[in-house]
């Protein structure tokens, strides 16, 4: 049994590394980080050549890309999405907002940075981080496996 489990996790790991699917979730961003994520899948950076695919539902995702501070209204949704995502699931916090609240720290509608709510694996600082930085962050997330 133990062996089987191990083997399964080996296959899982292989699949995960070769073709991670990402789901993007904005919990209170200014749109810039979101645009840079989209930028990363368009011709100049072309993330898809590494097998990385932007998917439309957290249930299919291996990696959650979270942008923006967590607002009061987005908080239950973030938890919901995190619960829906199949585990193991990596969480990448993109941008100064998601990492530390950035300039919005102290707002009345701001709960906190993402890692206050759910565990975060990789932080990508920058406001907004360049697509190169996002790609390198996702690659680092894969290396952690």
């Amino acid at each position: 049994m133990g062996n089987n489990n191990h083997r399964l996790s080996g296959i899982k790991k292989w699949g995960f590394k070769k073709s991670p699917w990402v789901f993007h979730l904005s919990t209170g961003s200014c749109n810039n980080c979101d645009i840079e994520i989209l930028d990363a899948v368009t011709p100049r950076f072309d993330l898809e050549r590494f097998g990385i695919l932007l998917v439309g539902t957290p249930r299919h995702a291996d990696i959650l890309l979270v942008t923006g501070v967590v607002t009061v209204q987005a908080l239950p949704r973030l938890l919901h999405v995190y619960e829906q995502a199949a585990k193991p699931c990596m969480v990448v916090a993109i941008g100064a907002c998601a990492c530390s609240c950035g300039i919005f720290d102290g707002g009345y509608h701001v709960v906190g940075p993402v890692d206050k709510i759910i565990p975060v694996d990789v932080y990508i600082p920058g406001c907004p981080p360049k697509p190169e930085a996002i790609i390198s962050g996702v690659v680092k997330a894969l290396a952690k496996l």
């Binding site: 904005s26 749109n31 645009i35 209204q73 919005f104 707002g107 509608h109």
Partner: protein, 401 residues
């Protein structure tokens, strides 16, 4: 039978959280409702705790795509309040940056619109040429987005002489591509059939719903802040306001594409005419008073109001972003349309949802309220507290009576 289709708040089609409830009868749309504020970051309130210089960085982050429109509108407002006249060179730099932003924003929109109607090549192409503008921004300001170029009394950074040629070269590269896009839109019979007459906005409705920017201009309303309330260097160069009559999705696309050409024209003239001199003036103490600033953002009029009480932080900042004004016109544009057209009509106003997130809901006046676990705990604790206070100092035996 009526069915409600919820779109959002986290929907694969929308980049940002936003909720539209579309009510349909069969294929026909009969009603639409809109919920917002998942992205509300309390910017207006935060601005009151930041100095004028810091607020510029804050309003830059109202919206990532218009990340120079909000700072310009805010600077205009403070300059109006304190009667500051900015140097001539700063005016030209402001115009160049704002027009570059318009180009990248319109290309971004065009790409997404193409994607939404199944022209994926258009998406990839438009975003590829948008990269030219992003590269230019990276060279001029050091960042691809959020350029931090504006400052009260002028600009924070100069555009160096050696960058002029690069700007002009990029414009030369872009112009034929934009012309190709225009040709592709106007000549393609499929696109015409798909977009013509869809999501029509009549001139009366455009006025009734107070639309601004390209949405209003596509419905035959000749407004443009750049011409009507000139700021930066727009009254010093030659360009024209693009107006179309039809008010449908096609007209909106045409307005935006033609505007890119006008922007290219403005940038070329600005680079040619750019005067020498300082890029900013010394800013005096901000006196008590009020000021308003407007700017024609890629999506329409962006309005900022600033009140000062003489301290170094604004006493009040009010922001009116264009998307917030444009989205309500969906009410008149959606009803009677087909389900398959929902997404392109949504996209046609180029909505930027983070600009529309204006409030925190405490009580929506319907009497409906959702109590979370935290609320229930709080209510329970408060009740205990009240009882405690009531019986303060009473002995146990008296309590039991």
């Amino acid at each position: 039978m009526r069915t409600t289709i919820p779109i959002g708040p986290y929907h694969p089609l929308l980049e940002e959280p936003e909720l539209f409830r579309v009510v349909v009868e069969g294929e026909k749309i009969v009603d639409i409702d809109w919920r917002t504020s998942w992205n509300h970051r309390s910017i207006e309130k935060l601005a009151e705790s930041k100095t004028y210089d810091q607020v510029i960085f804050l309003v830059e982050r109202v919206c990532g795509i218009c990340s120079t429109s909000h700072p310009i509108a805010f600077c205009n407002a403070v300059e109006d309040l304190a009667n500051i006249e900015i140097p001539e060179r700063a005016r030209y730099i402001r115009s160049i940056v704002a027009e570059l932003e318009r180009i990248h924003s319109h290309l971004l929109w065009f790409g997404l619109a193409g994607h939404y109607i199944g022209y994926h090549t258009v998406w990839m192409w438009a975003w590829r040429y948008r990269e030219l503008v992003c590269n230019l921004f990276e060279q001029i300001s050091g960042n691809r987005q959020s350029y931090a170029m504006m400052k009260i009394g002028g600009t924070r950074q100069d555009i160096k002489e050696e960058d002029y040629s690069r700007i002009l070269k990029t414009m030369d590269e872009l112009e034929p591509k934009v012309n190709m896009f225009i040709g592709a839109v106007l000549d393609d019979p499929v696109l015409l059939a798909r977009l013509k007459g869809v999501g029509k906005l009549s001139k009366e409705d455009a006025i009734k719903w107070c639309t601004v920017g390209p949405v209003a201009r596509s419905a035959g309303i000749d407004v443009d802040i750049r011409r009507d309330y000139p700021y930066a260097a727009y009254d010093r160069v030659d360009w024209k306001v693009i107006v179309q009559e039809d008010g449908d999705v096609l007209a909106m696309a045409v307005v935006r594409l033609l505007e890119i050409l006008e922007s290219i024209k403005i940038i070329r003239q600005c680079v040619e005419k750019m005067p020498q001199g300082p890029i900013a003036v010394e800013v005096p103490e901000i006196p008590p008073g009020e000021g308003i600033g407007v700017e024609e953002a890629p999506r329409g009029e962006c309005f900022h109001y600033v009140r000062s009480d003489g301290t170094n932080c604004p006493a009040r900042l009010k922001i009116r972003a264009p998307s917030y004004v444009n989205i309500p016109c969906f009410r008149s544009r959606f009803i009677g349309e087909r389900v398959a057209d929902i997404i392109i009509i949504l996209a046609s106003v180029d909505p930027c949802y983070c600009c529309t997130n204006r409030m925190m809901r405490i009580d929506d006046g319907t009497g409906e309220r959702t109590l979370t676990e935290k609320d229930l705990l709080k209510l329970s604790w408060e009740k205990t507290e009240r009882i405690k206070n009531k019986f303060k100092g009473c002995s146990r035996s008296k309590l039991l009576e």
